[in-house]
């Protein structure tokens, strides 16, 4: 391996950043301030002067089968401020074709067609969306104001009853929620007091602040604290005949009314065409099918300034194809829009078909803490390894022994961000030191640290020996599906050889890997870094605290918290305990400045302690966009949390600029 001069090993944060062409878009995230608190009030956008009937529904309206648009939208619809975001008023009509690997993946459509009670806008400010406004007193008394005249996709009014039904008849019903209501609804194990104030106002009141509540409502996985009560009641024993329900369940080969209720109650999964929705498109057919059709929702609550109802496109068509064919199908021009399911290695194939098929491949950076991160298992069963993994000098040495610049050039086309597993530049929580502390290449320092620990004995080939005489050979376990992860580890083998540490890669099925991790078997796991790398202070810092068992750095500590002390082990490392304390104090404050301070201390703790060892961040996510589809950003940040894949960029505002492009797949 050729050595690069030292000067080149400095992380190129600024340059890489500029190369990725991400100036203003993401730096705008920094410009957050007091507006976050006040953003929950009602929108100040004026209503359109007149309404324009949607062509798709014209026939039905003329025939009297559907009320005209003025009666379909709420009294106070959400008027999309297109101009302020550099977008144009679009034209209604047309179809958009996209792909999914299997019917179960249709739930990601609910993330992409992002509509939430309160949701993030492109600047990650939390704003009312389905709701008209929210009154928030210290995150303790939260009052939700619905839009008067808002209706479900079947025309039935959407009211406080829908919230009451979910809370009283579902969440608090032992048969439907055996484990009790979702955890974010509680603080210190205390349930909120729920009050229906009038038909468009509900209130949740906790004994103390619950700062988790509002951000959770905006997550890509919508917790849905409301249900179409008028539809769900027919499956609930409280409102329907138990005998008939039991028979209906048996007919569906289900074991009880509760199972039937749960089966039908899947607003997020898109597997039941009968359940009404509030989203922009509504699924029309059920699996099994190779093509799923989503049709526009006539009662959708968003409109544009010209008085047209959103979404602009009439239909979204999701074809089912095996994930391996996605690049080939895109290359053959069979999709109009596609993001999830494509990855960096597909870029050449995607680029190759652009000209012939008339689409563009957008390349967005993926906002992850690190595309490949290593997790030394602090709760591994093997006592010798446990002691070593818990020695911060060992973790720092491993990090200093990684030549991230070479990884970047070899695997990330030189466009990645080298350094620790931490938040992205552009996030309000970012400090350069978080990325570089122990996150640079310095094999001499790494060797010195390892000598200091006492790993001075070596085998003939230079591999260091553990205290019990075994060689320091780390088996890094990894999800076999992650091609880039395995490629990165191949390079790591070379780097760590320089510091006398052996590395073996063990790819396996992710489920097997998780179960092994829960049992304390792997010494080290490689996987993705932090999921939400563009946090704001009001987002939960839960990924940074040892509270989840699926964080491979501390599965048993997480188990202990998750099972309330029944399984796993209590966290017994001082610096990790500090993370727990910080997380608790974040949960008990509603003050944003305080929360930001806590975020930063946690991130600093992570950089210092190297709980996870980052390599390179900002891998590119290819996104296919057919020529003629407008109102979609050419450059933005991609992630699961918080951007909800591409959800916060509002795909309901996409439109076809020319009529002849609208029809799906003219062959």
């Amino acid at each position: 391996m050729t050595r690069l001069p030292r000067s080149l090993n400095r992380p190129l944060t600024r340059r890489a950043f500029a190369k990725a062409g991400l100036g203003a878009a993401s730096l705008a995230l920094l410009a957050r301030g007091a507006e976050a608190q006040s953003a929950l009030g009602p929108s100040t956008m004026p209503l359109p002067s007149h309404w324009v009937e949607t062509p798709f529904f014209q026939k039905m309206v003329d025939a009297g089968k559907l009320p005209p648009i003025a009666e379909r939208v709420p009294k106070q619809p959400l008027v999309a401020d297109l101009k302020a975001r550099g977008r144009e008023i679009g034209k209604q009509g047309g179809e958009v074709i996209t792909l999914a690997a299997r019917a179960r993946d249709l739930r990601y459509f609910s993330a992409i067609a992002y509509n939430r009670l309160v949701g993030y806008d492109e600047k990650l400010v939390l704003r009312p969306d389905i709701l008209e406004s929210v009154d928030n007193q210290d995150d303790r008394v939260i009052t939700l104001h619905l839009r008067r005249g808002h209706r479900w996709s079947d025309g039935h009014p959407f009211t406080a009853e829908d919230f009451r039904y979910w809370w009283e008849d579902a969440a608090l019903n032992k048969a439907l929620f055996p484990a009790g209501p979702p955890i974010f609804m509680m603080i210190d194990g205390q349930l909120p007091t729920f009050t229906v104030i009038d038909e468009v106002t509900v209130r949740y009141e906790w004994p103390r602040s619950n700062p988790r509540f509002l951000p959770t409502l905006a997550l890509p996985r919508d917790p849905m604290i409301y249900r179409p009560a008028h539809y769900m009641k027919q499956f609930h024993t409280k409102y329907s005949d138990g005998e008939a329900l039991a028979q209906a369940a048996a007919r569906a080969k289900l074991k009880s009314w509760a199972a039937l209720h749960n089966r039908m109650d899947d607003m997020f999964e898109n597997s039941n065409p009968d359940i009404p929705t509030l989203g922009p498109w509504k699924i029309m057919n059920a699996s099994p099918a190779t093509r799923f059709v989503f049709e526009r929702n006539p009662y959708y609550h968003r409109v544009d300034e010209a008085g047209q109802q959103l979404p602009y496109t009439d239909k979204v068509i999701v074809d089912i194809a095996s994930a391996g064919l996605f690049p080939a199908k895109a290359n053959a021009g069979e999709v109009d829009f596609l993001a999830r399911g494509l990855s960096m290695p597909d870029i050449p194939v995607l680029k190759e078909g652009e000209k012939a098929q008339g689409y563009r491949t957008l390349l967005w950076p993926i906002a992850r803490g690190s595309q490949v991160a290593l997790y030394p298992n602090l709760t591994v069963a093997d006592p010798v390894w446990r002691k070593l993994n818990r020695d911060v000098r060992f973790r720092r040495a491993l990090s200093l022994g990684i030549d991230r610049h070479t990884i970047n050039n070899a695997i990330f086309f030189g466009l990645g961000q080298e350094g620790n597993n931490t938040v992205r530049e552009g996030s309000a929580m970012f400090e350069p030191d978080f990325r570089t502390r122990y996150g640079i290449y310095d094999p001499e320092a790494a060797n010195a640290l390892l000598d200091e620990i006492g790993l001075t004995e070596r085998r003939g080939d230079g591999t260091r020996l553990l205290s019990d005489g075994r060689p320091v050979e780390i088996v890094v376990e990894v999800d076999g599906e992650g091609g880039m992860t395995v490629d990165t580890l191949q390079l790591l083998v070379e780097f760590w050889r320089e510091i006398g540490v052996g590395l073996f890669i063990k790819p396996q099925d992710i489920n097997v890997l998780r179960n092994r991790a829960y049992a304390g078997l792997p010494v080290m796991v490689a996987g993705f870094g932090i999921d939400n790398a563009i946090p704001t202070a009001e987002m939960l810092p839960s990924e940074l605290a040892p509270i989840f068992q699926d964080n491979f750095a501390w599965p048993k500590w997480g188990q202990y918290i998750e099972t309330k002390g029944k399984n796993g082990e209590a966290c017994d490392v001082k610096e990790a305990k500090r993370l727990l304390e910080l997380y608790e104090s974040w949960l008990s404050t509603a003050d944003e400045g305080e929360q930001a301070k806590i975020w930063k201390e946690m991130l600093s703790n992570h950089a210092d302690q190297q709980w996870s060892i980052g390599t390179v961040a900002d891998a590119l996510q290819p996104i296919i966009l057919r020529e003629g589809l407008k109102n979609f950003p050419t450059k933005a940040v991609y992630s699961w949390d918080p951007t909800s894949l591409v959800g916060i960029y509002r795909v309901d505002e996409m439109y076809w600029d020319k009529a002849e492009r609208r029809v799906a797949q003219a062959l």
């Binding site: 074709i97 299997r102 019917a103 179960r104 929620f177 055996p178 484990a179 979702p182 955890i183 997550l219 996985r221 917790p223 048996a250 080969k253 074991k255 009880s256 509760a258 199972a259 749960n262 089966r263 597997s271 057919n285 699996s287 099994p288 099918a289 190779t290 093509r291 059709v293 068509i317 074809d319 089912i320 194809a321 095996s322 391996g324 064919l325 080939a328 199908k329 053959a332 069979e334 099925d509 992710i510 489920n511 097997v512 998780r514 179960n515 092994r516 989840f548 699926d550 699961w640 949390d641 799906a664 797949q665 062959l667």
Partner: protein
């Protein structure tokens, strides 16, 4: 004959019982089960609510009970959470992945699978038999060598690779959409002439790809068998007595050469359902193969178990059929006599 059949049925039942136990226990070997893995996946996406729902299902389907109990409930000799309801009672279980009864999941894919594999079998026979006869009659001719070379290429070429290459070029040259068994435009349409056309177009690549190695193998075996027969005395005599060459060839040697293929029918039947998994996977065909693979990977135990059992039943039935056919075809074979 009756006695022979009774004996055969008894062994068939025993075999199936053994297979059912083996498949079920092997499916259960990896740690965890579908629902607990599901829970882990959902939780890693911060979806605690769905995890609670999955917990609920674990109890319903008795996944928290010992494996042998689950097995007995599955085949229907032990009461489950709603009485005796298993394979013997015609209840094939529940697919967690699809959230549907198994019969609905498999039913839809089954006929497309049959169609594809029947097309393949037909293709193999229609192409291989004439070529084999030609090769045997003109041994060591230029044509024989050419076909031999082609056959070896067909055997050596990894089918999934060929599938990918062909998909790409069929799309580039003829505009056939990639993957699937018909153009996705027709997915939810009733069967029209256009849809059938699209189906036939899409059948070309998989049939060629799946059939190629089979064709190559069949040519070689058929040619070898025929060459054996052609040097036998009865054939030489028949030709010497002035029987026209084609008739002389087809009347006896050809029939004898078919013997090994008849005994293969036993393997052909299950192949009609579970064959061509790899190619189906690569080409994204909505057949049983990919469903089985996904079910095994995600430990969707009742779905995987049912498909494997179905294939096992087809295998033992196929074996019986091929035995009976052989007896009828070749007078030298006698049943049950020593």
């Amino acid at each position: 004959m009756i006695g022979f059949l009774a004996k055969r049925f008894a062994t068939m039942v025993g075999t199936l019982l053994l297979i059912s136990a083996l498949t079920f226990f092997i499916i259960k070997l990896p740690p965890g089960d579908f629902l607990s893995n599901q829970i882990a996946e959902l939780r890693s996406q911060g979806d605690a609510g769905a995890a609670a729902r999955a917990d609920f299902l674990i109890k319903q389907y008795g996944l928290d009970r010992p494996v042998w109990e689950q097995y007995l409930v599955w085949i229907g000799v032990m009461p489950g959470s709603n009485g005796y309801s298993g394979l013997l009672q015609g209840d094939w279980g529940w697919s967690f992945e699809y959230d549907k009864p198994v019969n609905q999941v498999v039913g839809d894919a089954l006929w497309l699978t049959l169609l594809l594999n029947l097309a393949t079998v037909a293709f193999v026979h229609i192409v291989a038999i004439p070529i084999a006869i030609y090769s045997a009659r003109r041994q060591y001719s230029i044509g024989d060598y050419a076909f031999t070379l082609l056959g070896y290429i067909g055997l050596a070429m990894p089918s999934f690779l060929l599938a990918l290459i062909m998909l790409y070029y069929m799309n580039r040259w003829f505009g056939i959409s990639i993957g699937g068994l018909y153009d996705s435009r027709y997915a939810n349409e009733p069967w029209t002439v256009d849809k059938v056309k699209s189906l036939l177009q899409h059948l070309i690549v998989p049939t060629l790809v799946i059939g190629l190695s089979g064709t190559a193998a069949m040519i070689r075996r058929m040619r070898a068998n025929l060459l054996d027969e052609l040097s036998k005395q009865y054939y030489v005599t028949a030709k010497a007595k002035g029987l026209p060459p084609t008739k002389a060839l087809l009347k006896y040697p050809f029939r004898m050469a078919l013997n090994p293929f008849v005994s293969d029918i036993g393997n052909l039947l299950p192949h009609l359902v579970s064959g061509s998994v790899l190619v189906s996977l690569v080409m994204s065909l909505p057949t049983v193969g990919p469903i089985l693979l996904a079910a095994l990977k995600s430990q969707d135990q009742f779905l995987a178990g049912f498909i494997l059992m179905f294939v096992a039943v087809l295998t033992v039935v196929g074996m019986l059929i091929s035995d009976l056919l052989l007896a009828w075809l070749d007078p030298r074979i006698r049943l049950g006599q020593r």
